[in-house]
Amino acid sequence: MCPEVPPLKILVTVKLVPDTNADKRIDPATKRLVRTGVETVLNPFDEYAIEAALQLKEKLNDGSTVTIVSMTPVSGKEIVRKALAMGADDAVMLSDDAVAGSDLWGTAVALAATIKAQSPDLVITGTQSTDAISGDLPGMLAEKLGYPGLTYARKLEVDGGRVRVQRETETGYMTISAALPAVVSVTKSANEPRYPSLKGIMGAKKKEIKQLAVADLGLTVAVGTDGAKAQLTDLATPPARAKGQVIQAPDPAEGAKAIVQFLKDRKFL
């Protein structure tokens, strides 16, 4: 007989980002991303985290739950609801002007406090966001929460109060494990995120989205723009790449020769 293991409370962090294909801009005055006129979407990397959580919940099938956590303005509510439509049970949003403009450190502090208040067994994140592309938040959350951090997981399983993952490496993988509660970031190789079903979309309208403010978290340090420890001082648009030369090469040998000549001119050969 296996010992009775209580159901898990699984948390998934999600970020709202400008659409991958949108022409993103930064406002020179506020030095923040201009979000008007640009569609906001769930960070594509976070969809793998949601899917991993849902698959784990379905596999455990013991009353374990999936809660979405997001630090986002109130306007992000309908996008958070998309995560609920995929099958998550409920959501918690930290929506407060005091966290606007937070750097990585401030985000980690505020998000960790939000997560801690939910007393999770397992926190699942994506590996990075498509706007900041730092990949630093999972490690920072693990540290701030005091949980083991198992990052870059392409496979994840929970058994007997431990989480075991296959961590991607440059040449293969490592199998690493730790006691719960823990933070796990999952890679794109982990799964194929599902699309919300019609039933899921309808059901999501009734699911609870709890809204928290900084005052609810008992934070003792300033986050947001003023508390940032990496302060944006300048932003510039890089010079556009000029359109280069186009050569039609019906004869492959001529095409190859043209490339070699080009590479010689540029001292690559």
């Binding site: 594509p44 450190w105 999972p138 040449t171 490592m174």
Partner: protein, 323 residues
């Protein structure tokens, strides 16, 4: 900030190139800040790595023999940083480097700048220049509000130079702590190869490759002729032709090699943001009007399956002449 501490990533004693770049850059920044250049290396093979670091211009090389995966490395960096005083910690922007840098930053409550391509120092303050939003904007962020700061440097941007360094090797005493994470095994599925982030030449294939085979034949051959790495577009990865580690683009890696050769890649924004900061871009595509024509330095329109092997042959010949 005054001192600079390079975290050294290695595999059983063999140091990653991005860490040698960090070690070299540590000296340059320490000189600008008027402090010392340190390196920290931990885990199985640390002594061997330290011996290699003797060839780099460091003041002190701190060695921890504790093999506690990320935990041991973060503890070692913290130990050295606390002893050194106000310091900038440099890590490579790699999976391990990010984990160590981010955990250290959270632990000591300092700022962290990711994917740094340039440093600016003024009056003891350090600012980092980083392309964001896939290279659409270049941001500069000052590390402030703490005695410490972390910068994850983009591989292949800063030089790694051996000099007549003679850093003093300093042993870090064992902490006796247990690791929170257990490493159960490590499996190599592919031969150790240069990653797309670190290669100076990257040959990438896209949807136009039509299947997995070209990635292990014609593209690989061309990459090898340059001593480079094979990359891929999202379409090729999503089709299962090549593993995600090779993906260049928005949901893959953002790279800036000296030479990027895109084969059968149309150049959608998804891909463009991952490679637009390459120094030189050459495209081979059947369609001369593909979007990639707008930002490639040279586009050759023709049959990639015939052009690539011919090109490989000519590149090998040209290299043989110089050899």
């Amino acid at each position: 900030m005054k001192n600079v501490i390079a975290f050294i990533e290695h595999k059983h004693g063999t140091i990653r190139r991005s860490s040698l770049e960090a070690a070299t850059q540590a000296r340059a920044l320490a000189d600008q800040l008027g402090g010392k250049a340190h390196a920290v290396v931990a885990g199985d093979g640390a002594q061997q790595a330290a011996a290699t670091l003797k060839k780099y211009p460091l003041d002190q090389i701190h060695v921890s023999d504790e093999d506690r995966f990320i935990d041991g490395a973060v503890d070692a960096v913290e130990f050295v940083a606390k002893a050194a005083g106000p310091s900038l910690v440099l890590v490579g922007n790699t999976m391990i480097g990010r984990d160590v840098g981010s955990r250290f930053a959270a632990r000591v409550d300092c700022g962290v700048n990711a994917d740094v391509v340039e440093f600016k120092t003024e009056g003891g303050e350090v600012s980092c220049v980083m392309p964001k939003l896939g290279g659409l904007v270049i941001t500069t962020c000052k590390l402030t509000g703490s005695d410490y700061g972390v910068a994850a440097i983009r591989p292949n941007v800063f030089a790694a130079k051996e000099t007549s360094g003679a850093g003093e090797i300093v042993q870090i005493a064992s902490s006796g702590k247990a690791s929170t994470v257990t490493v159960e095994d490590e499996v190599d599925e592919a031969a150790a190869e240069l990653g797309v982030e670190e290669a100076s030449v990257v040959v990438s294939g896209g949807r136009g490759m039509g299947g997995p085979e070209p990635f292990t034949t014609i593209l690989k051959d061309l990459a090898e002729a340059f001593g480079g790495a094979v990359g891929a577009s999202r379409a090729a990865v999503d089709a299962g032709w090549v593993s995600h580690g090779h993906q260049v683009g928005q949901t893959g890696k953002t790279i800036s090699p000296q030479l990027y050769i895109a084969v059968g890649i149309s150049g959608a924004i998804q891909h463009k943001v991952g490679m637009r900061t390459s120094e030189t871009i050459v495209a081979i595509n059947k369609d001369g009007n593909a979007p990639i024509a707008e930002f490639a330095d040279l586009l050759v329109a023709g049959d990639a399956f015939a052009i690539v092997p011919e090109l490989t042959k000519l590149v090998r010949d040209a290299k043989a002449v110089h050899a």
